[in-house]
Symmetry: none
Subunit: 411 residues, 2 copies
Amino acid sequence: MDAEIIAVGSELLTPHRSDTNSLYLTSKLNSLGIEVRFKTIVGDDAERLGTVFRATFERSKLIILMGGLGPTEDDINRQAVANVLGLTLHEVPEVIERIAARYARTGRTMPANNARQALVPEGADWLPNKKGTAPGIWIERDGRIIIMLPGPPHELEAMFDEQCMPRLKDRVSGSQIRTRVLKVAGLPESEVDERIAPIYKPYSNPSTTILSTGGAIEVHLSAHGATQQEADALLDELTEKIEPALGDHIFSTSGETLEEIVGMYLVMKQKTLATAESCTGGLLSERITRVPGSSEYYLGGAVCYSNELKTRFAGVSPKLLETYGAVSKPVAQALAEGIRRKVQASIGIGITGIAGPGGGTDEKPVGMVFIAVADERGTEVREFRFPGDRERIRLLSSQFALEMLRRRIRN
Amino acid sequence: MDAEIIAVGSELLTPHRSDTNSLYLTSKLNSLGIEVRFKTIVGDDAERLGTVFRATFERSKLIILMGGLGPTEDDINRQAVANVLGLTLHEVPEVIERIAARYARTGRTMPANNARQALVPEGADWLPNKKGTAPGIWIERDGRIIIMLPGPPHELEAMFDEQCMPRLKDRVSGSQIRTRVLKVAGLPESEVDERIAPIYKPYSNPSTTILSTGGAIEVHLSAHGATQQEADALLDELTEKIEPALGDHIFSTSGETLEEIVGMYLVMKQKTLATAESCTGGLLSERITRVPGSSEYYLGGAVCYSNELKTRFAGVSPKLLETYGAVSKPVAQALAEGIRRKVQASIGIGITGIAGPGGGTDEKPVGMVFIAVADERGTEVREFRFPGDRERIRLLSSQFALEMLRRRIRN
């Protein structure tokens, strides 16, 4: 079965927005052996959407539409699809009740226009939306499956995983696509490629793609096979060759983020953690606490933007700050050791640096960052010169702090 | 004149790659008053590309194809377009000479398959490529303009700017597109629409789109005019009608983020800020410090995940924690007042809540969040019930904290 995806929304035709939902859907569809043949992006215009949908309906067996299910007049998908298929829309009372209940739970009254979201084409199924108000729609007609999903990513992803994947699994047969992602920390993308290109180049199945994403490098392998087992065996073969070339820079092969891996180690070793951040401004603690259950090992920390707070919250002596400056190796060390002591955590992390765009000097340029990890065995401090803008320098700082922590607690 | 863009390349149909060239082209086209109506992504398959191109040729006056001009068998654009238009391809000796010269400059010999790149449909112009080997192609036929550009961004951008923009400028009759974005805080999307739909509905120019993005609601207006001034006047007219309906919920009309607006107010009023976060885990401080120069007003804060740290860093009394529980109105107030006092800031913010997925009870469900803002005039505390998952609850908490702060310092 081949699929095509239609993203609906005038904002996706501006210079400022691009469709990212289709990447998520493609990954899920591929895992079922379904390939995406076309993607189309069209504005909130019923006539143009009708034209596009009519063409897709003629050539594809599985059509997924995203967006255009909101409560406003802009939200034209329900009507446009029903028109092309010659179906009428009817209001589903249960959907209205669910939306009203959702509003009631947060102490609000449902605005009248939300009733539009309860319109479903005759003969279609509606798909409950656990994360929002708009239900999805599932239509089967003339041997085609048409799925309409809400646009917000967290709504779309939850609905597709829970409601659509099981149904699609029942429908597909034959060739399977399996993927594996090796996540790598502590190496630049070019070095990852240099190390593994000679290994993956001879293989067309699995295919290999290297991606740089949010500070981590990801090696994506994708294999076709007659069965899942066959595809998995191909992945195993190539993975076993690649792993030695990247060694312990690989921190995950099953999708975990670096903060999740670090959290698993901390739980396993029964260690607690505290942080003292300057240039990252809370990004490190924010990443650590993204992980559900992080309160088990993360006690908290300080964002010490001012020098006074470096002293008050992390016990850095004013003399040290005066002698070496806030962005220095001794201050990073003092931040890590001080926050560990004050919070009575097993491990303390300190970060200080210059994220820019201002504040750099010849001696201490933008991108200079010191990171320290302190535990009962002592303190490791490293100096970095990160490339890029403020956002990237902060991201790389948090990434290398997590990577230093991972190596520290693993040993 | 309306445009549509076709991106050709099988890699753009994988989970790992998305088309970004079209954002660049859209920005350039908009500056000429040309709107993009459709974008289609199709793999390296001559038959499928033919189907897509045939449909676009019927409905659009300007069609831009990207990619598929390389020297390999995969590069099918030249042939597929020529087939649909009933044109034959001929080899242009000058193009071959240029490609051979390019290779010679770097001491290499042109591979034989590069001659494919010199194939141009009869009657078409070829566009020199300063950054690579594949020339572009410009076809005019039946009142349509068809432009074929190479896929690599630096080749495409240079070629489009130098070769296509001047030609297109001559073709368009001066119509200009101008856009404006009103950013709204503190209202759900459906209420924003309910308030302003009666106002924007009668207008087709400007067109209006409402978007929900990262906790903020954005109202996008886009106007066409014979001149920039005319388009701006249309935007002014509609903006002046919409503004009273949303009142002071509009925090920006020139692109600033909520954290930037709050930063501008803090600088203007010469106030300093400190934060004490529990469930947001540092997200609020991270957002505040995304803004370059935030060290001027943000002193820092505490991420007090554990109760001990709520006491140590923000001076919350253990008795208060015991009596009301960590997630409570009095504790939010004590966090805000305590961090303000300890850090000696003009304003203190305290956040405590249950982000989930675990930790909720009937009395204190997941999504319950208390936010407090304390300054010299006293402390405001609000209770929220946020919908969604952990990530969304944390995001909305940080958003409403910034919005409470904005309202507080504005007055």
